[in-house]
């Protein structure tokens, strides 16, 4: 039976879809059977991050309209044979919690992981995505606005009975953390009172890359998710000590 995990954040644009795609790839590379569900109707980007934007096929609204079965709407990744995508829709589409939950349940026997990419906010779309899951990964950027919105999303999820929650801190700048100018992962964990699944650094040029490949930080997070070795990437490492201070100085002068 698949583990159903919603990837959410409260705040928009902090990397939910990117992390859903990358964690999915990392898990699939380990041989896990993974389906990524794009529950962000209208602002769907998962296909893009997986390099599947050109692939025609059915999407969630087609399944719900009875035009096809879930199995027919699943798109297999050409590079990772155990990775599948259930596309959202380019148009906004009203979906209620019960409907999405029913759809997800039809898939749980076929996969090890169902990763649900939630829309931003804590509205209807968020509620639907969360209701379909048993666990949650909260993507949070090291900024106060993101931490604050994550806190609201966490409270809502707990209210909906999701208590297996962890944080994926995304876009961390090791040099700024060392200088005390950005929240450290420890501080974020303390503020949000949740364990850290991973810390992903800000990766320069990530958005320009054609195809996403999981950074070591994401691979560590995927391993923890699988119940394997607990390692969390430390973005401050290369900015600590003597050589680190030189790197920081160089970065500042750029």
């Amino acid at each position: 039976m698949a583990r159903k995990i919603v990837i959410t954040s409260g705040k928009g644009g902090v990397g939910k879809s990117t992390m859903t795609a990358l964690i999915g790839i990392a898990l699939a590379k380990k041989g896990e059977r993974v389906a990524l569900v794009d529950a962000d109707f209208g602002l769907n980007n998962l296909d893009l991050y997986l390099g599947l934007e050109g692939c025609d096929g059915y999407a969630i609204p087609d399944v719900l309209a009875g035009k096809c079965r879930v199995r027919q709407a699943l798109l297999r990744h050409p590079k990772y044979p155990t990775l599948w995508l259930l596309k959202g829709d380019k148009d906004s589409f009203p979906i209620n919690a019960q409907t999405l939950k029913g759809l997800i349940m039809q898939m749980e026997g076929e996969f090890d992981y169902l990763l649900i990419d939630s829309p931003a906010g804590v509205g209807e779309g968020f509620l639907a995505a969360v209701s379909a899951a048993d666990e949650g990964v909260v993507v949070v950027a090291p900024q106060l606005s993101s931490v604050r919105d994550a806190d609201k999303a966490i409270q809502r999820m707990k209210g909906l009975g999701i208590h297996t929650l962890s944080l994926l801190i995304n876009g961390s700048h090791g040099d700024l953390v060392v200088e005390g100018e950005e929240f450290s992962p420890k501080e974020i964990a303390k503020l949000l009172k949740l364990p850290v699944l991973g810390v992903v650094p800000h990766i320069y040029g990530l958005s320009c890359e054609g195809e996403l490949t999981p950074h070591i930080a994401v691979r560590y997070a995927a391993e923890i998710l699988r119940g394997g070795k607990r390692r969390v990437y430390d973005p401050t490492k290369r900015y600590s000590g003597f050589w680190g201070s030189i790197r920081r100085g160089l970065k500042r002068s750029l």
Binding site: L144, V147, R148, D151, K152, Q155, G180, F183, E187, K190
Partner: protein, 74 residues
């Protein structure tokens, strides 16, 4: 944990506060009156309501000079 952390902590706490300032002041006055029947209070009373993982927690803080003598009727 530095100033940035403290600020964030306060923002999150304020977001979770379930009482507005005015209602809080009313309850504080009421509690102060009631507690004064049993204790000699020095300084003001502070009420804090924080919603956490398992519902809300209520913390009442006040300085007490001494416990007043009172009789319990059988």
């Amino acid at each position: 944990m530095g100033r940035m952390f403290q600020r964030a902590y306060e923002v999150l706490q304020a977001d979770k506060a379930v009482l507005d300032d005015e209602s809080k002041a009313v309850i504080e006055r009421d509690l102060e009156k009631k507690l004064s029947e049993y204790f000699e209070l020095s300084g003001g009373l502070r009420l804090e309501i924080v919603s956490g993982e398992e519902g809300c927690a209520l913390a009442i803080t006040c300085k007490v000079e001494r416990v007043k003598r009172f009789r319990i009727l059988p």
